[in-house]
């Protein structure tokens, strides 16, 4: 019951955060509300016995990536005038909402067709660093290396892109 309560709390927080992300005008507000979603998700991961992912979600996502985003937002020193004037935002949100309804319903239908399963917290080492690490270096080695390469490439790319000078008119 306690776990269910936690789930409901995190779920509500996550959805609220996401709604905030979509609706807030200033990206800074959006980012803050998105952080709420990320942290709630981390809680959900914990409830799903994914210990490592829980930690990574907090450290990498909510920590590193989001701080990067927030940093850039602040770095650009965005004034309200810089922001696009989205007078028809709500209209678009409504339209988008209507568009995604079939998608959502379709997914829901699929989920419904799956058998229900308990997600009670598992004991033992499931989702621990060691187990995931072993799996990662045993079965997923090549994808792992490829991802590392991808990170390297994006690093170089980011440096080159952002480091360009004097191309402004």
């Amino acid at each position: 019951m306690f776990a269910d309560g936690l789930f409901i709390m995190f779920a509500v927080l996550a959805v609220l955060g996401a709604v905030g992300l979509v609706l807030f005008r200033h990206p800074m507000n959006g980012a803050m509300s998105f952080v709420v979603t990320l942290i709630s998700l981390a809680g959900l991961y914990a409830l799903l016995s994914a210990k490592l992912i829980f930690a990574l979600q907090l450290i990498v996502y909510a920590g590193a990536i989001m701080s990067l985003i927030v940093f850039i937002i602040m770095f650009l020193n965005i004034q309200p005038d810089d922001l696009p004037k989205e007078e028809t935002k709500l209209l678009y949100v409504l339209g988008g909402g209507i568009l995604v309804v079939p998608i959502g319903l379709f997914l829901v239908k699929i989920v419904k067709s799956l058998p229900e399963h308990s997600t009670a917290i598992m004991g033992g080492n499931f989702g621990g660093v060691k187990e995931v690490g072993l799996l990662l270096f045993r079965d997923w080695l090549i994808p792992f290396e490829i991802v590392s390469l991808l990170l390297l490439v994006s690093l170089v790319g980011a440096v080159i892109l952002a480091g360009k000078r004097g191309t402004t008119k």
Partner: protein
């Protein structure tokens, strides 16, 4: 078969080889130092003479055979053979082809010799003889071919040579146009020939497509097919032999050198149509309607050409129309099933018409290529040999007894009368009178009276011997060839008819003496009237007349050329250019252009969706995803 001999193929081969040899020599030397003319002259005469010798050998060999089995064959090789179509490159010599063979090689040789003199000094001397030899070879293939397809080789070959020789002086556009006209008109006829052959093949050709097999199977041919074949083949003949409606090329063909006119457009090639009809006599004999049509077309051509001939002022055009006219007689002859009479007229005509042309050539040569008779006159003193020989030719042409033309023409008219074709006979007699008129009009204007062009007259002189000797030989032929087929009424026994009988499916009409005398009498009277009028008008010299009314109409050949131009040539060109300029881009190509235009339209239409905003592209994606979801959720459950 014991009648298979191996030298028939050589007869056309000699001139053909000569043509190749002379042609190559000419082509490779004409841009450098030209070979002496003598080389060409001698080389050119070897082939025809050898062929003539072999023709004599054939004649002797045939003579030795029994009349009903009088034929020799020579299968050189299988030409082509597909399914039940078997065509051999085979040759057949029977009395009919032997007769043609003899006079073609004989006259051909003479004209070659004559040309040595006439063509002297021409820069394309070698080319001329190459063409002439090629012509002779093709003509011999035509005559000797053992089936319609081999005949067609010669048939087209002579057409080609005719084209080449008409446009011989190719720098002048009108000559080349005349050549084109000849070739194209001949091709129209050839279409008939090819179609006729095709129908004949599908009728009875499966068991062998040569004359002997065809003759043996002719009774299996359905009458309707037989009529079709006969008429189609006759279309071929009208092209080659210049009959209505395809006669228009022959007068223009006089643009070629005069020996060419003599050899090709008078003596040999143009008679190929008559020869062909006689060849297919087994076919025509069975279809009376076809024969009647042939006869009427022939006699009407004779009449028309005679009318034109009376008003021409070019010496060669007069002769050309007389040729057309005489060819009409021949067709009238073969049309009324008097094949031997028709062929006999071919034979005699070859002599006197070649003679007249060569004589005319000699006149033209003397006057430095002046052809208008109204610029000549009084030449009989200057050129006695030419004068005398030409008069002999003219008498023969006009049908004066006892010259060659009289017997042959009379034979045709008699046959027409005896088989009950009174209309043809009547027109024929009328034409005989007109023939006498225009022939002697020409003779009187050219040779009698006062010289009209003093300057030219003074420079005129008799042609060299190499030219006059052939004239004399031909004159002898024109005088005496008629006696070869002397009818019974004059105590002869119709040697030629009897000789030809095995080749032809003809029944000699048994007319009575009265009919025979009537025919002869009418011919003679017509001749006499014609010559009388001619003498009355032109005997003492006459000024150049100016034509009006009907004469003017006839002088312009009833505007037939213009009519053809208006209703065939111009529409043809118009169709061509309208296809190219209007139909091709707007109709045929329209679907293709339409497709391209459709792509343009679609592209412009879809461009609307390319708004350029990332968000909208994402929207499209979501839209698609959404629609897919909708569809997919239908299938779920």
């Amino acid at each position: 078969m014991e009648q298979s001999v191996n030298y028939l193929g050589l007869i056309p081969l000699f001139p053909l080889m000569g043509a190749v040899l002379i042609g190559l020599l000419h082509v490779f030397t004409c841009k450098r130092t030209a070979l002496p003319e003598k080389v060409y002259g001698i080389l050119a005469c070897i082939g025809p003479v050898l062929s003539f010798v072999l023709a004599l050998k054939v004649f002797v060999a045939l003579k030795a055979l029994a009349p009903e089995a009088r034929f020799l064959t020579h299968k050189a090789f299988t030409w082509f053979s597909v399914g039940d179509l078997h065509i051999n490159m085979g040759f057949l010599a029977d009395p009919l082809s032997c007769l043609m063979l003899l006079f073609v090689t004989f006259i051909g040789s003479l004209i070659h010799i004559y040309s040595i003199g006439y063509m002297g000094g021409d820069k394309n001397y070698g080319k001329f003889f190459a063409y002439m030899n090629l012509f002779l070879g093709s003509m011999l293939v035509l005559v000797l071919g053992d089936g319609p397809v081999v005949m067609f080789v010669g048939w087209e070959g002579v057409g080609l040579c005719s084209y080449l020789l008409i446009s011989f002086y190719s720098e002048d556009r009108s000559n080349v146009l005349a050549g084109n006209k000849a070739f194209i008109v001949n091709r129209v006829g050839d279409l008939g020939f090819v179609l006729g052959m095709s129908f004949l093949f599908w009728g009875i050709g499966g068991n062998g497509f040569d004359y002997l097999s065809l003759k043996a199977n002719v009774q299996h041919l359905e009458p309707a097919i037989a009529l079709t074949v006969c008429l189609l083949l006759f279309v071929g003949a009208t092209g080659k032999s210049a009959q209505i409606p395809l006669y228009v090329w022959l007068p223009d063909a006089m643009a070629g050198p005069t020996p060419v006119s003599a050899l090709i457009h008078a003596a040999t090639m143009v008679t190929a149509g008559v020869y062909m009809v006689a060849r297919f006599s087994f076919l025509y004999a069975g279809v009376e309607l076809a024969g009647t049509i042939v006869a009427w077309v022939g006699i009407l051509t004779a009449l028309l050409a005679a009318i034109f001939g009376m008003f021409q002022d070019d010496i060669k055009k007069v002769l050309a129309y007389s040729t057309v006219s005489q060819l009409g007689y021949m067709f009238a002859g073969v049309g009324v099933a008097a094949y031997s009479a028709g062929i006999f007229h071919v034979f005699t005509h070859a002599f006197f018409k070649a003679l007249l042309f060569l004589g005319a050539g000699s006149v033209i040569y003397a006057l430095h290529h002046e052809q208008n008779i109204w610029k000549m006159g009084g030449l009989k003193n200057k050129m006695p040999k030419t004068y005398i020989t030409m008069v002999i030719g003219a008498l023969a042409l006009a049908g004066c007894p006892p010259f060659a033309g009289f017997f042959s023409k009379d034979e045709i008219l008699y046959s027409a009368l005896a088989t009950g074709h009174f209309g043809i006979w009547a027109v024929g007699v009328l034409v005989a009178g007109m023939t006498a008129y225009y022939t002697f009009r020409m003779i009187f204007v050219v040779f009698h009276g006062e010289p009209r062009d003093q300057h030219a007259y003074e420079h005129a002189s008799e042609a060299p011997n190499v030219m006059t000797v052939p004239l004399i030989i031909l004159a002898v032929g024109a005088l005496f060839a008629g006696f070869l087929n002397l009818p019974g009424i004059f105590g002869g026994d119709q040697i030629v008819s009897h000789w030809l009988a095995p080749s032809l499916s003809e029944q000699h009409p048994h007319g009575n003496l009265f009919v025979e005398i009537l025919a002869i009498g009418a011919s003679v009277v017509a001749f006499a009237i014609g010559i009388k009028i001619a003498y009355g008008k032109f005997g003492q010299g006459a000024p150049e007349p100016s034509f009006s009314g009907f004469a003017d109409f006839a002088y312009h050949k009833f505007y037939v050329d213009e009519l053809y131009d208006r209703i065939i040539v111009q529409p043809y060109k118009a169709i061509g250019s309208s296809i190219w300029k209007v139909i091709e881009p707007n109709v045929t190509d329209a679907p293709v252009k339409g497709v391209t235009r459709l792509y343009m339209v679609l592209g412009t239409a879809f461009k609307v969706f390319q708004v350029g905003y990332v968000r909208i592209y994402a929207l499209y994606m979501v839209l698609g995803l959404s629609i897919m979801s909708l569809l997919l959720s239908q299938s779920l459950n």
